[in-house]
């Protein structure tokens, strides 16, 4: 009784929701809320016995429960239930519909049937309802909605699959295959998908590819197709004919083997590959034409790598080796090679006319200026006044000791004036020298300002120029000598040279010399004796 009452309530609530005005859903209303809860409870309880797992029997829809909580409860039920329902549907599809399926309980059919009915009858209303449900913010209603949607999607898929699939083509398998192809994208998987028309080339490509993966892939595909072959004839799929596939299947394994052997050979030895290429020229040309740009690049790179590896293994040329002595390279090989090394010395200047001209110009200029690079003596400037050295008188003092002391006493007492010291004499000499210099300097100005000083000194008249002429510029001095030649002459009478003397004269000279010497020698001992 309770169960039926509850079911009735739920039905009533569901109906209420169905026929409610859309505008009512925009604003939250307590009636609709309670109706929704009741409806969801009813549907939940109706579905509970069907689920393979053992979910809680009732849906707790107290006002205290949140939308999230209610939804999670529904999820607990729906999660194992939905795949189960799907499987059931599939089974139904496979089995002829004429056979009565009494095993399935009514409620299972009910939602399916109800959905079918809804679809067939009132798709528009359902759609509107769905839209309304979608627009509302309540998640409880969305839960129903989602359930419906999922069931609808499955149905649609199944319908589509029914149209295309046959004993050969299984959509699921094709999907798997496509996924595999996407994984092995590089290698012409895309080509395979695109060029289904060029069957021969396609087959050839599969042969020539070096990738094992590709071959495996091809094998898998063909395996698939071979399996399908057993089932029966397939429908047309993209212009590929049956005989294209399955007549070549006999050749395929042979070709496959060749490809593998070729492939092995290719990997081991390039020469054999080339030989094979020459043998199977037509096939190779065709194959090369069919190569993609990437494949071509790969070929080139491979060839280059091989070449470089070979070169690296060989010994390099003598120019590339490090230190090479004459014995380790061929004769006169250094002459042929353009060697580059740093020169530490400046190259010798090429003497041209211009160079010499420039040098001569410089020399001339220097001479004209008088600018020479002579070593100049640094002028010694005395930093301080020269020390006055007391000159030690090395001659016998003229005064006696007593007189010295007498003079000392007299000086101290103040009786006698200070005596003339030696330094004064030097000063006198300096003074005379300075006066002479001043005279010369004054002569430059022609004595206009100063009179000629009179130097009183008793000097023997020397053989100097007679006149000091006064001229404007420069000062000219006459060459006429002061003394007459006979005055200059020193000597007596007839002067004869050594060579001119006669024997007697020579003897006379010697005698005179001896006499003079004797005389002087006599004087000396006498002098000494005096002391």
């Amino acid at each position: 009784m309770d169960a039926t009452a509850a079911a009735d309530k739920g039905e009533a609530a569901l109906k209420l929701l169905e026929y409610a005005d859309p505008s009512h859903f925009l604003s939250p209303s307590a009636d609709l809320v309670t109706a929704a809860r009741a409806a969801s409870q009813h549907i939940y309880s109706s579905l509970v016995p069907l689920s393979p797992a053992q979910p809680p029997s009732t849906l707790l829809t107290d006002p205290a429960f949140d939308a999230e909580q209610i939804w999670s409860q529904i999820e607990l039920l729906a999660r194992p239930l939905l795949p189960h329902l799907r499987r059931q549907l599939r089974r139904l599809e496979q089995q002829p519909p004429s056979q009565p399926q009494a095993t399935l309980p009514l409620p299972v059919e009910k939602p399916a049937d109800s959905e079918e009915e809804e679809e067939e009858d009132g798709q528009g209303s359902e759609l509107d309802e769905l839209k309304e449900l979608e627009e509302t913010d309540d998640e409880e209603e969305l839960s129903d909605d989602e359930e419906d949607e999922e069931e609808e999607e499955e149905e649609l898929d199944q319908r589509a699959h029914k149209g295309l699939e046959d004993q050969f083509l299984k959509i699921g398998e094709m999907a798997e295959f496509l996924d595999k192809g996407d994984e092995e994208e590089y290698g012409g998987g895309a080509n395979r998908g695109e060029e289904k028309k060029a069957t021969k080339n396609w087959m050839a490509e599969s042969d020539d590819e070096g990738d094992e993966d590709r071959d495996e892939e091809g094998d898998e595909d063909l395996e698939d197709f071979e399996d399908d072959d057993e089932d029966g004839e397939g429908e047309d799929g993209g212009g590929i004919m049956y005989k294209d596939f399955f007549e070549k299947s006999h050749n395929r394994p042979a070709k496959k083997r060749d490809g593998s052997t070729k492939k092995v050979q290719f990997k081991e030895d390039t020469h054999t590959m080339e030989l094979d290429g020459s043998e199977n020229d037509d096939g190779n040309v065709e194959e090369e034409q069919g190569l993609s740009t990437h494949e071509k690049e790969q070929l080139k790179a491979r060839a280059k790598i091989e070449q470089m590896e070979k070169a690296a293994l060989e010994s390099s040329a003598w120019t590339m080796q490090g230190e090479v002595t004459a014995s380790s390279r061929p004769i006169n090989s250094a002459l042929e090679v353009d060697l580059d090394f740093e020169h530490n010395v400046r190259p010798a200047p090429v003497i041209t006319e211009e160079v010499t001209a420039s040098l001569e110009d410089m020399i001339k200029k220097r001479i004209a200026e008088g600018h020479f690079d002579d070593v100049e003596k640094p002028s010694l400037l005395p930093s301080k006044a020269p020390k006055e050295h007391k000159e030690l008188d090395e001659s016998k003092s003229k005064k006696g000791l007593a007189e010295l002391y007498e003079d000392d006493y007299a000086q101290k007492a103040g009786i006698a004036p200070a005596p003339l010291a030696i330094s004064d004499e030097l000063k006198q000499q300096a003074n005379t020298l300075f006066k002479r210099i001043c005279l010369k300097l004054d002569a430059l100005s022609h004595f206009h300002f100063a009179p000629k000083p009179v130097i009183e000194d008793m000097s023997v008249q020397a053989n100097v120029p007679a006149l000091a002429m006064e001229e404007i510029a420069p000062v000219a001095v006459s060459d006429a000598a002061m003394l007459a030649p006979e005055e200059v002459f020193e000597g007596k009478g007839d002067v004869k040279e050594e060579g001119e003397l006669t024997q007697a004269e020579r003897k006379r000279r010697r005698a005179n010399k001896k006499r003079r010497y004797a005389a002087s020698h006599k004087e000396r001992p006498a002098k000494l004796q005096k002391d």
């Binding site: 030690l392 090395e394 016998k396 003092s397 005064k399 006696g400 000791l401 010295l404």
Partner: protein, 229 residues
């Protein structure tokens, strides 16, 4: 002294006793006046007998003595008032005090003067001894400084005097002394300090230092000496 005592006693006796006694008594009981003694004349010394000094004359100074006798005699006799005579037989110069010799030391000074002349000094230099008190004559031998023999000795002597005596004169002039180099004996006449300096230079020359080095030292020392005075 005796005469003075006699005179004082006579004076005391001559005068009234009371005066002298009075004075004595006035000074105090038993106080005696300090006796005043005038300094003795040299003639009165040693019992009024004259004093003598005898200076022997070496043979090589005989002729110079003969030559310069008047130069010796005049200052000694006239200025120092000391009797001087030459004992030719004994070959010595004898000096004697006179009555009017003013000072006791005159005799000694004259004796030193004559002795200096005998050593070889000039009259002009030796006369300084008469005039100044603090001049002395210092003598030493080369062998006192360093034992030299033969050529080394000759070279040392040569080093001492220098070429034409210039080293010797340099020392003399810078230190205000007079030096006589008599073979191996060296006599220096001058004041005490100067003698010392001259002696040091001569010793360094004997020991072998070159003249230039001695000159430089002399210059420094003489400058110092000159600054002092």
């Amino acid at each position: 002294m005796q005469v003075e005592r006699a005179t004082s006693a006579a004076a005391a006796g001559g005068s009234s006793d009371s005066e002298g006694m009075a004075v004595d008594h006035a000074a105090g009981p038993g106080a005696v006046e300090k006796p005043r003694f005038d300094p003795l004349m040299p003639s009165e010394m040693s019992g009024g007998r004259p004093q003598f000094r005898k200076v022997p004359v070496p043979p090589h100074r005989f002729a110079p003595l003969k030559r310069c006798w008047m130069e010796i005699y005049t200052p000694v006799y006239e200025h120092m008032k000391v009797d001087i005579r030459m004992n030719i037989k004994a070959r010595r110069v004898e000096l004697k005090t006179r009555q009017d010799t003013p000072d006791v030391s005159n005799l000694q000074k004259c004796a030193d003067f004559v002795h200096a002349f005998m050593l070889g000094f000039d009259i002009a230099d030796a006369v300084a001894l008469l005039r100044l008190d603090d001049l002395y004559v210092d003598s030493f031998e080369i062998k006192d400084v360093k034992t030299l023999r033969g050529e080394h000795l000759s070279r040392a002597i040569g080093r001492l005097s220098g070429k034409g005596g210039k080293t010797k004169y340099a020392i003399e002039n810078s230190t205000r002394t007079r030096i006589v180099i008599a073979d191996t004996k060296i006599h220096i006449l001058g004041s005490f300090v100067n003698i010392k300096v001259a002696r040091d230079s001569l010793c360094s020359l004997i020991l072998g230092s070159p003249a230039g080095k001695v000159y430089s030292k002399l210059r420094a020392v003489s400058a110092r000496l000159a600054e002092r005075y």
